[in-house]
C-alpha cells in the first residue's frame, strides 16, 4: 500500500456517507450534486423571456453553497488524480470484465476513462460522441426528471428511508443494465 494505491470500499464508503451529516450540521444542507446543473443553467446570462420557469429563481440564495461545494470536488479531483493516483497502471478488473471490454474494442485499461473513446480524437468518433455527449445529456435530463442523482437519491434519499428514492435507484440500475448489456454490444462491437 503506497500513497498512490486505491482505497478499499470499506474505508471510502463510510467517508462518502459522512458528507451527509457534515452538510446537515454545517447548514442544514441536503447532499445532492446534480442540483448544481440546474443552478448553473439558472445562472447563465439568458434573458428571462427565453428562460423556462423551472430555471427562473434566485440561484445564489439556494445554490451558491452547492456550486462552491462542487468547485471543491473539482479541486479534490485535481489533487487525487494528479498527485495521489498512478494513471499508468491498468485498472484491476475481473477477468470476465476485461474480456468483455476487449470484445467491445476497449483494450487500454489505464487511467480512469478508456482513452480510446474519452479523448478529443475519441469524441470525433460516433461511439465516443454517443458515450460523452449522449451520456452527459441523459444524466442532465434524467437527474432533474427523477429529482436527484446518485448523491440525492441513492445516498441522501436511501439514508432517510425514502421509498421514492428506492424507486429512482431501481431505475438507475435498470437504465445502466440496459446500456451495458444491450446498447454497448450493439453500438461498440
Amino acid at each position: 500500500m503506497t500513497e498512490l494505491s486505491p482505497w478499499p470500499w470499506y474505508i471510502a464508503g463510510p467517508l462518502i456517507g459522512l458528507v451527509v451529516p457534515f452538510l446537515l450540521i454545517l447548514g442544514g444542507k441536503v447532499f445532492g450534486i446534480s442540483a448544481n446543473l440546474r443552478h448553473a443553467c439558472a445562472a447563465l446570462p439568458v434573458p428571462d423571456t427565453h428562460t423556462p420557469a423551472f430555471l427562473r429563481y434566485d440561484w445564489q440564495r439556494t445554490g451558491l453553497w452547492n456550486l462552491v461545494f462542487v468547485l471543491g470536488i473539482a479541486m479534490g479531483g485535481f489533487v487525487g488524480l494528479n498527485m495521489l493516483s498512478d494513471t499508468t497502471l491498468p485498472m484491476a478488473l475481473g477477468a470476465n470484465t476485461t474480456s468483455a471490454l476487449e470484445d467491445l474494442g476497449i483494450t487500454d485499461l489505464t487511467g480512469f476513462v478508456p482513452a480510446q473513446l474519452f479523448s478529443w480524437q475519441g469524441l470525433a468518433s460516433p461511439a465516443g460522441l454517443l458515450l460523452i455527449v449522449g451520456g452527459g445529456f441523459l444524466i442532465g435530463f434524467g437527474a432533474r426528471w427523477a429529482g436527484g442523482c446518485t448523491s440525492g437519491h441513492a445516498i441522501s434519499g436511501l439514508a432517510d428511508l425514502q421509498v421514492p428514492s428506492l424507486v429512482a435507484v431501481a431505475g438507475f440500475f435498470a437504465g445502466g443494465l440496459l446500456a451495458v448489456h444491450i446498447l454497448f454490444p450493439l453500438l461498440l462491437s
Binding site: 440564495r61 461545494f69 485535481f78 493516483s85 470484465t97 485499461l109 478508456p114 435498470a174
Partner: protein, 189 residues
C-alpha cells in the same frame, strides 16, 4: 428574558445601552434586523461558510478519486455485477449516512447555527402513472450513468483532474437540464 421584560413593561425607566451619539432609530433598526429572519444576511454566503463547503467538496472529490468511483471501468464492472467494490462502497456510504440521519433525528441535533435540521420527504407525483418521475427519470439517468461512466459528482472530479474532453459532457448535461426545463410540463411526474 430579564433584559427584555423591563423594556416592554416600563419603557420610561429603561436606559438604552448605546453610545451617546447614536440616534434612537439605530436601535430600532438593529432590533428589527435581529427579529426578522428575511433581513438577516445569509449564513451560507459568508466567506467562512463557503470555505467550509469548498473544503468538504475537496474531501469528497479526493475520496471519489482514491476509491475509483470516478473510473468509467468500475461503473461498467458494477453493471456486470463482477466486483463487490462499488456495491460495498455505495452500501457502506448509505449505511453510514442512515445511522447519521437517525442520530440527528433521535437526538434532535441542531446545525452549528442552532437551527433545527429538517429533511423534507420526497413527494409522489400526481401523474396517472404511479411514481412516473422516479422510475422514468431514473431509467433515463441510469442510461446516461453507464454510457458516460460517471454521475455528476465524479464528472466534476474528472474534469478537475484534467480529463478535458469531459467539458463536452458537462455542456451536454447542462443542455439536458435545459431540455428537461423546456419539456417539464409535458412529462409525467
Amino acid at each position: 428574558m430579564s433584559s427584555v421584560q423591563p423594556i416592554e413593561s416600563t419603557p420610561q425607566v429603561w436606559v438604552p445601552n448605546r453610545p451617546a451619539h447614536a440616534p434612537v432609530e439605530c436601535i430600532d433598526t438593529t432590533q428589527a434586523e435581529q427579529t426578522r429572519p428575511g433581513r438577516r444576511p445569509s449564513k451560507d454566503a459568508t466567506p467562512l461558510a463557503l470555505g467550509l463547503y469548498a473544503l468538504l467538496g475537496a474531501y469528497l472529490g479526493l475520496v471519489f478519486t482514491k476509491s475509483q468511483v470516478i473510473s468509467w471501468f468500475r461503473i461498467y464492472e458494477m453493471f456486470r455485477f463482477e466486483s463487490f467494490h462499488m456495491f460495498g462502497l455505495i452500501g457502506s456510504a448509505v449505511a453510514t449516512a442512515a445511522v447519521s440521519v437517525w442520530l440527528i433525528k433521535t437526538f434532535n441535533i441542531k446545525t452549528v447555527h442552532g437551527e433545527p435540521i429538517r429533511l423534507s420527504p420526497k413527494q409522489w407525483g400526481r401523474s396517472s402513472v404511479p411514481g412516473a418521475r422516479y422510475w422514468m427519470g431514473g431509467l433515463t439517468f441510469g442510461l446516461g450513468w453507464a454510457l458516460l461512466g460517471a454521475c455528476p459528482g465524479p464528472l466534476v472530479a474528472l474534469l478537475g483532474g484534467g480529463v478535458s474532453v469531459l467539458v463536452a459532457a458537462l455542456i451536454a448535461a447542462l443542455a439536458g437540464t435545459w431540455a428537461y426545463a423546456l419539456l417539464r410540463d409535458r412529462l409525467p411526474h
